[in-house]
Symmetry: C2
Subunit: 225 residues, 2 copies
């Protein structure tokens, strides 16, 4: 009976993680819509909603520590809970970047953007898939899915480098637009970071399933040599 | 006798955290020296050394989980270990930013910088004190020290905003230097982020000593309402 409760608690934990993943995905999406549409209310709302992301992080962390304390999990379960503790931090950072992008939106004010944001949307389309696959791979303990999602980060890095070249050359040609390009480049940088966090999540899934982590957890002295 | 071993293990954990704090401080310092002196070897070395930071993170995490599993700490000890688990993630991110700055150094190549980096050094001087105080406040459970260190982030934010204005106006006036200014602004952004992570550490110390965290950890259901 105890075991059933434990499994239920574990499932509840994973459900919360999925919920948090979907919340931060929405946050990133809204921060881009707000930027493109110069929607300062949506930008402010996204900043405000980050406290919900932080609250979920803290709640999931508490659940993880609580499970470790009360249930003394070993092997796979302990690996999963440890991975969960790390993943939640990456999700929270992704949420922070949605807030960062919204702050740039607000600092840009109500002026219409002179530049197209198509390329930033390409980032988001990939990030959306990558993030979903990363979290799905954790829930399903699917190492192959995690490995494939991890590879998407290369595409994101390339998109960022291309955007960077374009921003630098545009700012040099039209100095009046330098500030706007610097801001948009910063947005691109945040999206590139979101990709890094999604990659971290994939790596935690791989660790968690292949067991490297727990092997050294069982014998921490070995790590020090 | 068991208690003594436990106290020793806890002390060992805190010592490692101090060691890691001093390592990431060195990493940030070296990344700036490499940038200013166009020292590509030092930049590469800093990037290489980030694996040491990552290794320490993983090791401290394992020690934390191991202590929770084997010793079932409650109250202050549990709060301290939970805070330790979070602080180590912030330190690792600071290490990542030293790597990021070093990567910018390398991408700038061997060309001499046309701009002075005095202002970036001002960032570092404050960050160094803030980081040390943040970690000391954790080790000494000193909430006042944590609160004072936390305030330094305001100064760092102001320095960043000033540097940003200067970079945008300089890039607009001299389009040929736009790329260099964009890179230096990115370095300033990373330093500003380091300040955010140091601020996080202070907040964890405050949580850990005042006990808000553990209060809800004991009763996670309350958090959901």
């Amino acid at each position: 009976m105890l075991r059933k409760t434990y499994d239920e608690e574990l499932q509840q934990l994973f459900n919360k993680l999925i919920e948090m993943g979907s919340l931060v995905e929405d946050q990133i999406k809204n921060s881009l819509i707000a930027l493109e549409g110069r929607d300062l209310d949506l930008a402010s709302g996204t900043i405000y909603k980050d406290r919900l992301v932080n609250q979920m992080e803290r709640e999931i962390e508490k659940d993880c520590l609580n499970l470790i304390l009360t249930q003394q999990p070993v092997a796979t379960d302990l690996r999963n809970i440890s991975a969960c503790l790390k993943i939640v931090t990456d999700l929270e950072r992704i949420g922070d970047h949605a807030q960062d992008i919204s702050e740039i939106s607000i600092s840009l004010g109500e002026n219409k953007l002179t530049n197209e944001l198509d390329e930033l949307h390409k980032f988001f389309d990939i990030i959306k898939v990558m993030l979903k696959d990363a979290i799905d791979s954790f829930v399903a303990s699917d190492v192959e899915l995690a490995k494939n999602a991890k590879k998407m980060d290369d595409t994101i890095d390339k998109l960022y480098m291309n955007f960077r070249k374009k921003a630098i050359s545009s700012a040099s040609k039209d100095p009046a637009s330098a500030e706007e390009w610097i801001d948009l480049l910063q947005v691109a940088k945040y999206l590139e970071r979101v990709g890094d966090h999604a990659e971290n999540i994939c790596e935690w899934v791989i660790f968690s399933v292949t067991g490297d982590y727990v092997e050294s957890l069982k014998n921490p002295k070995r790590m020090r040599s």
